[in-house]
Assembly symmetry: C2
DNA sequence: CATCCAGCATTAGCGATACTGATGCACATG
DNA sequence: CATGTGCATCAGTATCGCTAATGCTGGATG
């Protein structure tokens, strides 16, 4: 009865639905059960966790919410990790890819793997950045491909919810995408610091997210001027071309977009890297693909 | 009954004690209850988790063990985090320090804080590196001080079991400790790569651990020639002086040890940094000390 | 200000659960 | 082959965790 994941799950549902009854419906309980769950949790922790009428988290509840999601995720990850043990050679490979992570070289390796292992079904899923790690942890995907900006020898930051290894697959220079007529568009290279106060587009599911940029460059700048929720690189290019702001992309991608110019970033020394994420004990086919990607 | 922390706890106890009965005694249960707990877990996960006679984890059990400790830690962290909310101004400040983290400057800041806040009881605890973060997360300490080697702008690696912030307190050059008669002892500075194949002493609770060194320098070398389990820097100095191997230390500390020479490391660009760890919502006094340490 | 109502709390009751204590059974040891 | 250690199993019981019904409270409405 101590901090039962079950109680946490209904707590999260209550906070998200902002209603006991709605949470009950969503979870397949009665409203009474939900009420008792919350009461039990509050009793256990000795504090009020949700304010009623209107329903919402208290300060303590907000704290708990920060823990609840990772906790529940890790539970699923543990389940998946245990389930993977002893799993025979599966005939299906599920890949979770970040938006810009599926490069021609990766696709080539994958094609060669399929050629060498007849009967292998492959399932490629494109997800948002955070969801990739989650899919690998929970076993929804056999492998994950993420990308982002980092110093040349630093690994990409990954939410740590379980034993998972990231291996570099490919690196290329990082570029900033400017509209073709931009005053800086003729430069051979640019320093990131000079652009900290420029207008930026935050496109966390398409380009390098501004948060990553801030972390990698160790600064406070890069405040978003516009937020782009799509996963389509061309759409982002259109926005940049129209002058809505700048975006950071791997150089080869930036060079391919019409109406814009991709200028290589010279300082700080950052690269765009694709990494493959795999669980501690991946299936045989997955292991094989990891070998090809990194070998 | 899905993956109850209770069941996990007894699972961990069983694996650690390598016995159902011993685990039962440790947990205050009957042997029967423990047997049923394990059976329930195995039934839930659909795999055998522990081998009996002799008792030990199966492959799946080993996987689960990797998750169990962080999971239980995070549960305690969540508890502590929630309990901290609304806590009035406490009159006692508990500091968890890593072995080399308690520098003169830190002690000075602490002394000034005590002078300014009469009636403040301070409790300083020296712990191993991993235990510091754990103490902060579980609320056993209000603040933690850790140290280690890292690239100048990189944060120290901290086990991610909850919302916790690390702020740099002090940085100084990293040095390698050589016996006084060592052939390289007259050098003005040394490159770490040249020492990768030397004999090293692994002293994770005293000097910079070799694991950190490997990670920071991105290499495979630094295989331990001798392991030193103590937390006493002078004892480590004696071992180095006697030629048992080398160790990495902050320069000022290395310079103070007799019979040895501390040579500054010039490449890769690594520093020894002390960071203060605090939970998301630290108590008022703790917050004040953080301000003084970092300000 | 009276009424209504949406929605959370409370309670009784019952089936499921989680313990204990006793017993069974398998394996290692001498 | 006898013995003992230690896990599995089983019966019994207290407790838990649900549902269904009912109570209660704060806000909207005229």
């Amino acid at each position: 009865m101590h901090m039962d994941p079950h109680l946490l799950r209904t707590f999260v549902a209550v906070v998200e639905h902002r209603s006991f009854s709605a949470a009950a419906r969503a979870l397949g309980y009665t409203q009474s059960a939900v009420s008792q769950h919350i009461a039990a949790l509050e009793n256990d922790l000795g504090t009020r966790l949700v304010e009623r009428r209107p329903v919402g988290p208290t300060a303590a509840g907000e704290r708990l919410m920060e823990h609840a999601a990772p906790l529940l995720l890790r539970i699923d990850a543990a389940r998946a990790d245990v389930a993977r043990v002893g799993r025979a050679h599966p005939t299906r490979l599920t890949l979770a890819c970040g938006p810009v992570a599926l490069t021609p070289s990766v696709a080539g390796d994958l094609a060669r793997l399929r050629a060498d292992t007849p009967g292998l079904a492959v399932d490629v899923q494109v997800l948002g950045r955070a969801a990739v790690a989650q899919a690998v942890l929970t076993g929804a995907a056999d492998l994950g491909l993420i990308d982002g900006a980092a110093a040349p020898s630093d690994p990409l930051p990954v939410p740590d919810a379980g034993p998972m290894t990231g291996l570099a697959v490919a690196e290329q220079p990082l570029a900033v995408l400017l509209p073709a007529g931009h005053p800086l568009a003729h430069r051979g290279s640019l320093r990131l610091f000079d652009l900290a106060d420029a207008h930026w587009i935050d496109a966390p599911d398409t380009a390098v997210s501004l948060g990553q940029l801030r972390a990698a460059a160790n600064t406070d700048g890069f405040r978003p001027h516009l937020t782009y929720g799509g996963t389509d690189v061309y759409g982002l290019g259109v926005l940049v071309a129209a002058g809505h702001g700048l975006a950071a992309l791997p150089l080869s991608l930036a060079a391919a977009l019409p109406g814009t110019v991709g200028i290589r970033l010279s300082a700080p020394r950052l690269v765009h890297r694709v990494e493959v994420l795999h669980p501690r004990a991946p299936a045989a086919v997955a292991q094989e693909l990891v070998g090809r990607l990194t070998g």
